[in-house]
């Protein structure tokens, strides 16, 4: 079968809409039908929610469904499953695993989380210490994970654990699918600087994972994890951002609407940050144009750095600009938001939450190293962990 083109995808989309009118079809039923028609993620294989079509044609399908007010699978809520678990299962899973997991993942019946980071292994993720020991047909897992978003909602987790402590750290890791309903799994909310608990700590005690839930060969979990992590960072470069579309927007509006708050020092800082925000927007736009032209540049590596610093400086300025109001905070009650909502909250929240922007998904320091070594070709620092067994590393 040749890959369907845009017209063919449009035809199939309309056919599905005719057979399952959104107005009279339940949300889950509609999404299941959409998956079965191969219109979920069109670049996935036939039978797994796709049609082997070019990935670039997905917007054609999405636009048709959106125009018909069809339910969508709310990719924000199931982001980890869609963005990280799914491509990894597709790349490394067995046929049984793909058949079992991809459909309920995409439909949203089963939420996923990611058990990677540990209290002792953040930027140095491959140093992780959670152990998985073979016991017959099962693996028995003990350890602690951290920064796990959605763990309290998740049915499944992607998990990396150490299966051979005698090997150097990158080579003794294996990759598993963990059942979050297992009695050995304990999820505790991790309250943050904002008062909220977006994340969890996850304690794993004698968790039994059948060997059939291993992804990829024993000892090659790091290779599998790299696929997951690469997909985590793929997200930038989608749509155009309008001028003042980021955090600078609310501050500029406050400045225009409330002249009594203006001071000369804040004015100079505001203008400097306004210019930097506009330049960051243009840099993102240039990156987008490079991607469209098929010449992806390395700029993406730097965008997260730029936005982290800008968000922090702008939100810091905003708290000061608001004066007495900036001294107040909306609500310190511990809440468990499903989404991080930067613009819907007050300046104090933005100021505190943006501190995470230079830490989550790779600290700014690690990203600067990556730019220096991979983009500028600067030599790496000497390493003393390369050929040392994990168990002999200092901790």
């Amino acid at each position: 079968m040749t890959a369907p083109d845009a017209a063919e995808l449009r035809r199939r989309t309309r056919e599905l809409l005719a057979a399952h009118p959104p107005a009279t079809t339940g949300r889950t039923d509609f999404l299941k039908a959409r998956f079965d028609a191969g219109l979920a993620w069109v670049h996935y294989p036939a039978g797994l929610g796709g049609l082997d079509a070019p990935r670039s044609l997905q917007p054609v399908v999405d636009a048709e469904f959106a125009a018909a007010h069809a339910p969508d699978n709310d990719p924000r809520r199931i982001g980890i499953g869609l963005g990280m678990a799914a491509p990894t299962i597709l790349g490394f899973g067995t046929d049984e695993q793909k058949q079992r997991f991809l459909r309920p993942l995409w439909v949203g019946e089963e939420v996923w989380c990611q058990l990677f980071s540990e209290p002792g292994a953040g930027s140095d993720l491959a140093a992780l210490g959670t152990r998985a020991v073979r016991d017959g047909e099962d693996w028995v897992v003990d350890g602690q994970k951290v920064w796990t978003s959605s763990a309290h909602l998740a049915r499944w987790a992607i998990l990396i654990a150490r299966t051979d402590p005698d090997l150097p750290k990158h080579r003794g890791i294996s990759y598993f699918i963990c059942d979050m309903t297992d009695p050995g799994v304990e999820v505790r909310p991790l309250r943050q600087i904002t008062g909220e608990a977006e994340f969890n700590e996850v304690f794993l005690t004698g968790v039994r994972i059948p060997d059939s839930h291993r992804l990829g060969p024993v000892g090659e979990g790091w290779k599998v994890a790299r696929t997951t992590l690469m997909n985590e960072r793929v997200s930038i470069g989608g749509s155009r951002i309008p001028r003042e579309g980021g955090m600078i927007g609310p501050v500029a509006r406050t400045w225009r609407e409330r002249p009594e708050l203006r001071t000369h020092d804040l004015h100079q800082r505001l203008l400097t940050l306004w210019v930097e925000a506009e330049v960051a927007r243009l840099t993102g736009e240039r990156l987008r144009q490079q991607l469209v032209a098929g010449q992806p540049g390395p700029e993406g590596s730097g965008m997260k750095l730029a936005f982290a610093r800008l968000n922090q400086e702008i939100s810091g300025l905003e708290v000061e600009l608001l004066g007495d109001e900036g001294l107040l905070y909306s609500d310190w009650t511990m809440r468990r938001p499903e989404l991080v909502d930067f613009t819907g909250r007050d300046a104090g929240y933005r100021y505190l939450r943006s501190k995470g922007n230079s830490i989550e998904g790779g600290t700014s320091e690690v990203l600067l190293n990556i730019v220096a070594e991979r983009v500028l070709g600067l030599p790496s620092e000497p390493r003393n962990d390369k050929d040392v067994a994990w168990k002999d590393l200092s901790r």
Binding site: L271, E278, Q290, V375, G377
Partner: protein
Amino acid sequence: MTARTEAGQAPDLLYSEAEEDLRAAVRSLLADRAGAPSVIARTESDTPYDPQLWKALATGIGAAGLLVPEELGGQGATHREAAVVLEELGRSVAPAPFLTSSVVATETLLALGAQDGPAAELLAGLAEGRQVAVVAVPFAAASADVYASVASGALDGTLGPVADAAAADVFLVPTADGLYAVATDAPGVRVEPLVALDLTRPLATVALDGATGIRLADAGAGARAVDRGLLAGAGLLASEQLGLAEWCLTETVRHTRERHQFNRPIGSFQALKHRMAQLWLEVVSARAAARNAADALATGSPDTPLAVAVAQAYCSKVAVHAAEECVQLHGGIGMTWEHPAHLYLKRAKADATAYGTAGRHRDTVAALMELPAP
């Protein structure tokens, strides 16, 4: 039209194939004729400009006439191509009156809209590289203030520091009576060289003492034309700053990879790597800002004044930061006369004042974006 509503058309921030070809030609010419040792030697001579280099750039490559339409004797290219030439000139800091004559003076004359007469003739002369013209206002000026006075057709005044005055054949002089073209060898015109911070863009005082010239436009049209020339100059100066910053980063990376201390290349030390990575991020951001300004000028976008102000407010700082890091991360050698780093530092710092400082351009942003001072 306010800058609050963004222009609908997306700016093209990439380089076309033709622009890359032009870049390759300019870069290879400058590599042959304007290597760092010869630039240093030139700054120490009595002749700040190399006429052979300018001839090759102006007429061989056709750079002088890029902005001039074909029917007026030029190449009919746009500010996007002129920006690419400036990136390369920034990379080599060669003394050449491209920015002052081929951009600012040329754009000023073009803004007069004359299809024939003295302005059109002068444009043809500039486009062919036969003449060099310079707008006689201080290099730091961002708008067409009047510095010379006119009484019964004779011009008087002391203007400066004027960039590239030493290379000029013609001065364009804004006065309350109109815009005048004054030949530099006319009676009553004296060009007095100044000792400039930037060794690669000579400055001079222009003294007019009863000089006569040709009146090209009345005061209003003349001031608008000079403003347009200075706007183009400021917008494209960002590309020169980009090229300069790129050179500084590239050379610093090269040096720190090769230089060993403590039995390691110094470029492997995280403290240094982070500074260079940060600089790289500034350079790619400067590229987006500079391209945006060049594209806005080229397409006549209503967004042009904001695009230029943003590019200048940002790129000035990046160029100076890149040059300062270049000196520092080169260690002792970066402080020497023989290493070219100082040429870049001096050019970067002078550029940060040229056509208005970053602070002045931020004031423009404040006005255009309705973000007024207290």
